[in-house]
Symmetry: none
Subunit: 454 residues, 2 copies
């Protein structure tokens, strides 16, 4: 439910809103490497929210600051907690971008920039909606809390502590998280389950320095060869993960979900084409592609490095090699238990002459949300209103750790109402966000606020 004046206001202010988003996109706010840009982006958001009448401030963390904001409208009104993140993925590899990642441009009806979709473009929907209600709708119709995070792309290392410290300030009736996507263009979607994450790094150390591969080759364990063997052994020939106990707690897919997903307009060949692969080769045998992405746990190497990687040849047995691995977990797997199985596997598979070091970089629990809560129903109606189609109920293979933290620490079931499209190149070069999604996202956010009043 949204006042016509609010919609009209959003329509009239499109160009200005776009220009504002461009300002935000120009901050290269990569959490690990650009603390200055992160602080600037956070302060920019504080100013912007202040202009909408919210009490807003940055709050320091062990890493990049978060933005907290609130608007109290009335004691008898429901309170909505809006979440987004202003930090972005690193833009590498830079040479693959068609335009500079932090110089946003509009091309082919879309905004092209790192963060255009994930998550600056999406979080901006709420700012536009708030402004529209304030300026044209007689004021925001609910109480608001807002949390804009600065370290989502690096696994929200400090968020658990942060939420515990600010639990009172963040108390609400429901949360809206806009950091997800439509199942397909013209098919708005609400995500009711997310995979969790266990992120580990293994370093294999052999000789104390790089040594001559001719003089010594054959005598010692080569850290790269040994690491390759370690990683290869983590899957069996059917694509199943071999870590002890890995599948013990996996919640089986219901028959209803399977039928729902089979009915989705999913074209495997088109999906493969979109990723640039000739065939969908990887993955666990016996499950459909959507099941493999949404309801089955996976293990993927995200990076590997060791020895000489420059141009030409260097004949060494390297002193060390290391690999980063992310495991995507499904309800009801426990990251700690999975990591324990991983450590055990590494211990059992480290060959003589190699010392192994396992480091846990990040963990997030999988989450399963109540699909029938009042907030969920409000979200479904808002999406239908803004995009003209009833939303599909889907899962997502990614982690949005805040969802599980809201549930566990604040007792809040979130509505994962995102506006991205599947081919927006999230986390990749040439990330973009359709203008239409940008504009309609604001309408959906405004409608959600209205619907909470029902």
């Amino acid at each position: 439910m949204i006042a016509e004046a609010v919609t009209q206001y959003l329509r009239s202010n499109r160009q200005r809103h776009l220009a504002e988003l461009f300002e935000l996109l120009r901050f290269p706010s990569v959490a690990n490497s650009e603390p200055h840009a992160c602080r600037q982006a956070a302060e920019w958001l504080v100013r912007r929210l202040g202009k909408c009448g919210l009490q807003a401030r940055t709050v320091a963390t062990a890493g990049q600051p978060n933005v907290l904001a609130s608007l109290h409208v009335g004691d008898d009104l429901p309170t909505l907690l809006l979440y987004g993140h202003y930090d972005v993925q690193p833009p590498d590899p830079l040479e693959q971008w068609h335009s500079a990642p932090f110089e946003p441009v509009v091309r082919d009806g879309a905004i092209w920039a790192r963060g255009a979709n994930d998550d600056k473009g999406q979080l901006y929907a709420h700012i536009m909606a708030i402004e529209a209600w304030q300026q044209a709708g007689g004021g925001v119709p609910v109480n608001l809390r807002m949390l804009l995070e600065g370290e989502e792309e690096v696994g929200s290392p400090d968020m658990e502590k942060f939420l515990a410290a600010h639990a009172g300030e963040l108390s609400a009736d429901a949360a809206v998280i806009s950091d997800s996507e439509f199942f397909a263009e013209n098919l708005p979607s609400i995500t009711y389950s997310l995979r969790g994450l266990a992120y580990v790094e293994v370093t294999f150390r052999g000789p104390s320095a790089d040594i001559h591969s001719g003089i010594n080759g054959g005598a010692v364990s080569n850290p790269i060869n040994a690491l390759a063997r370690l990683v290869a052994g983590m899957h069996d020939n059917a694509g199943r993960v071999t870590l002890a106990g890995f599948y013990d707690d996996v919640l089986p897919l219901t028959e209803a979900e399977r039928q729902q997903w089979d009915a989705l307009p999913f074209d495997q060949a088109e999906y493969a084409r979109g990723l640039g692969v000739e065939s969908l080769g990887g993955g666990e045998a016996g499950f459909s592609v959507l099941e493999r992405r949404w309801a089955r746990p996976t293990l993927d190497a995200n990076g590997i490095a060791g020895g000489y990687a420059g141009v030409g040849s260097k004949t060494i047995i390297p002193a060390q090699a290391s690999v980063k691995i992310s495991m995507r977990l499904v309800p009801n797997q426990n990251p700690a238990k999975v990591v324990e199985g991983f450590r055990q596997y590494v211990t059992e598979h480290t060959p003589p002459g190699i010392r192994a070091d396992v480091k846990l970089n990040a963990g997030a629990r999988p989450v399963m949300l109540n699909t029938r809560s009042p907030a969920m129903e409000a979200g479904k109606a808002a999406l239908a209103e803004a995009f003209g189609a009833a939303p599909a109920m889907v899962r997502c293979g990614a982690s949005v750790p805040i969802t599980e933290l809201f549930q566990r620490l604040l007792g809040l079931d979130a509505v994962l109402m995102g506006f991205g499209l599947p081919d927006d190149n999230l986390h990749s070069p040439n990330e973009h966000y359709k203008l239409e999604q940008f504009y309609r996202g604001a309408i959906a956010s405004a409608a959600m606020m209205g619907n909470m009043m029902k």
Copy 2:
């Protein structure tokens, strides 16, 4: 066989010879970065050889010049080709040197400088020997050819062409290459076989860009995981290489060689300590460590790279991953055939959704020398005479490409008669060369010339 007067002359001129070597060591003749110093070193050698009565000159190549010299004594005398190289490894990392790399000093009975051993100190043995024969022995007793190379440490890129162009001028009855080492102190050694090399690089390409490991994980082949599986599969559980036909042409170790090597003073624990590993884990089952290093072919990854290798975590399935692999080949393996087997293996083991690219970077043939040739016998006797111990007959796991080039292009079996010791820090900071090896090397060279007359 060496005239007593020649030995006496060498003893009397030690200080002057050492001072001359210091002059040569002061040229920072690094082939890739110091062309001026290389030219100076080459010209210094030309003048020095001229003083010994040789016809000497520098010969330009595509890179640094080589020095060619000759001395014709008599038509009925055998001709010996002496080889060394005046270029040196870069001295980095400089801060780890105890004294400046190009300011030679004597300390603890050794000469400390880059090139002190490899190869200026070793090649100088021949210059001292020639002078001694000329001044005190009634003249050099054989015809001489000398080749002092300027690009050995950068892989002799121009040498094949050079040898072809100067084949006539380099024709000889035997060659002596002094660019190797004793098996241990007080145990002179002759290397009669070297491993060859096939160097390849494999790139696995999957998605057209890095993609989100959560959203897509489970659906596609991950290039790193696939590459790990590829590399892991190149060895079986017994450490044997699985490439088709890999061992077909391997010349088996003779029982005599095995017994000879078992008798060498090789302390596995000390060798492992020197490399900084707790145990010698890698390698093919059923062979001793020396056999694995010298007589068995190996396959070692020299570098691997893919995805995100920076600090912290990035949750991607990378677009590609690649690995550099060197295979050390033994007689009678053929690099071209081995590479063919490698290509076939990659083709057969590339999973769906991955495109493979195989690149050949470098190849060198293994070499097996005649251990009973007259020159080889002359070398054995010369080392025994100079160092007071019969030389061990050893192989070496590395390649010294000139050896194979002499054999293949000039039809010359070389005697690999070097005077370095295993802990002289070749290619490392604090390279040094024992004075005793320096002086006795000259006696060995002089004796070798004498022995060729038998």
